[in-house]
């Protein structure tokens, strides 16, 4: 329909119904498929096609989750807080270093390739070295998590700080605005979407860093439970722990999505 500059009055409930219908159209197909998959899995487990060791029925996994909830939640705590500490430290360090490096073109040309190099290499292989350096406790897991989550944040920050159109920067310079002010009012707001994209990757990495530390030291945490139950072929407990870990990952991811929405709105309303 072409816009003829005429606003048609539409009752507000019509819009609401439209939103509801759109949401239903979006959610219904994956929901139906998910129900079919889980239902099929349950049926196959019930009639014995899938062994309980290989793939216990969803109902049994759920049952185990409820019965072991106390232990699982207790073990989820070091994992959750480790990942939280990991991503926040990585965010602070990554954004600060990204901003510092972007301050000088020479510095950036010198440092950026090294950072990209670290971004590309398989850093998880360094986990045993970190444990050698920092012991096998909670703090070693956090330090490793920071190390893994740091690089996507710093790369995104550096890329983002170059995203402001050059004409804006030239305008700032001709208005004799200080570099710090240009940074705060022009470059940083333009970098924010990039930084949040980096944080979204970083938060998944932070969880992985903690879990990997737990795999290797095998003392506490959901990573320990996952490895322990795999070694004992307690697949129901294994799946329950993975489910909870997915919950941890999604909660942290959702937190950063919400933070992004809030921060972007703050900048938009200015």
């Amino acid at each position: 329909m072409t816009d003829i500059g005429l606003k048609l009055a539409r009752p507000p409930w019509r819009d609401l119904a439209g939103i509801g219908r759109d949401a239903a159209r979006l959610i219904a197909p994956p929901a139906v498929l998910a129900i079919l998959l889980v239902g099929g899995w349950e049926a196959l487990s019930r009639n014995g096609t899938l062994g309980a060791r290989l793939l216990p029925a969803p109902s049994k996994v759920f049952d185990t989750l409820i019965r072991s909830l106390g232990v699982l939640l207790e073990q989820a705590q070091p994992t959750f807080w480790g990942a939280v500490a990991g991503i926040f430290l990585a965010a602070a360090l990554g954004i600060a270093l990204g901003a510092a490096v972007s301050y000088s073109r020479t510095l950036m040309q010198a440092v950026y390739p090294t950072i990209v190099f670290f971004q590309l290499i398989p850093k998880v292989a360094l986990a045993p070295v970190f444990l050698l350096w920092f012991g096998t406790g909670f703090s070693a897991n956090v330090i490793f998590s920071v190390f893994i989550a740091f690089f996507p944040v710093v790369v995104a920050t550096i890329a983002g700080l170059q995203a402001a159109p050059p004409s804006y920067e030239r305008l700032c310079r001709s208005l004799m605005i200080s570099r710090l002010q240009t940074f705060a009012t022009v470059k940083f707001p333009f970098a924010l979407p990039h930084i949040f994209a980096g944080l979204r990757i970083g938060v998944t990495f932070a969880v992985i860093g903690v879990v990997l530390g737990e795999f290797i030291t095998a003392q506490t945490g959901l990573g320990y439970i996952i490895l322990f139950s795999a070694n004992n072929f307690e697949t129901a407990l294994l799946l329950a722990a993975i489910l909870l870990l997915c919950g941890v990952g999604i909660v942290l991811f959702a937190f950063f999505l919400a933070l992004e929405a809030i921060v972007m709105r703050l900048y938009d309303s200015r």
């Binding site: 390739p113 398989p122 998880v124 444990l131 795999a230 294994l238």
Partner: protein, 250 residues
């Protein structure tokens, strides 16, 4: 310094400075080799154990490449299939996006329960982890196709298959290669983690075993080789991208 050499010289100088500082720190403070071997120690360890490290590199590279190939096959295959059916796409795509968010490396022990402790499980893990970025990138690429071109094809009564082959597939290649680049690094990580957890071969196994023997110099030598492997694999994907672009006449 002229402008052509600057982007090359500066990073090299910085990396060299880092290595020299490391070497100097070890020499001045005399850290024990178990805690922090100097770059020269790592080089000696690499030279002395070259054959052994090479023997462990072969299985790691084999599993990585095989897993990556499977991931590419399934990722591109499923995404292409979904581009033909609106209903299938609406049903499957959101589920995969949700699974994409969770830390999949943590599922490694599950695959060991399912597939066993041999190389097939490591290959499966690499394929599983590599699948998601390839699939998501391919979907984004297929959906980025210029609508008017698709409509033009329909107007010229091209079959859906020909539209896919001549229009949608070429349009999605830049996205596909972005996904492939993420997937190849993830495939290496998947194989290494699986080797950490249960294996008697591969660089991950060598690293963990050397950690138990407190041979930090061998760990870092193995990691050096692993970095080279990772960079070569990444470079190969990049070369593939350049070749395909040239073939498309860009």
């Amino acid at each position: 310094m002229n402008d052509r050499l600057r982007p090359l010289l500066l990073p090299t100088a910085f990396a060299a400075a880092l290595l020299l500082t490391w070497q100097a720190l070890v020499l001045v403070f005399g850290y024990p080799k178990v805690i922090l071997p100097a770059p020269s120690d790592i080089f000696v360890a690499l030279a002395d154990n070259l054959v052994m490290i090479w023997q462990q590199t072969v299985p790691t590279v084999r599993d990585t490449l095989a897993g990556f190939a499977l991931a590419a096959l399934f990722g591109v295959g499923l995404a292409s299939l979904l581009s033909f059916s609106r209903l299938l796409r609406d049903a499957i795509y959101p589920l995969i996006v949700v699974i994409q968010l969770v830390p999949k490396i943590a599922w490694t022990p599950l695959f060991i329960v399912w597939v066993g402790i041999g190389w097939p499980s490591r290959l499966t893990i690499a394929a599983f982890i590599g699948f998601f970025p390839i699939f998501i990138a391919m979907m984004a690429g297929l959906e980025s196709t210029d609508r008017s071109l698709v409509r033009l094809c329909r107007g010229l009564i091209a079959t859906p298959w020909r539209t896919f082959w001549l229009v949608r597939l070429p349009a999605s290649t830049p996205y596909l290669f972005a996904g492939l680049k993420i997937a190849i690094t993830l495939a290496v990580i998947g194989v290494i983690v699986a080797e950490f957890i249960s294996s008697s071969e591969g660089l991950g196994f060598l690293i963990l075993q050397s950690a138990a023997l407190l041979r930090t110099d061998i760990i870092l030598a193995a990691i050096t080789v692993l970095c080279i492997v990772g960079l070569v694999c990444y470079g190969a994907v990049h070369a593939g991208e350049v070749a395909v672009r040239k073939w498309h006449g860009e």
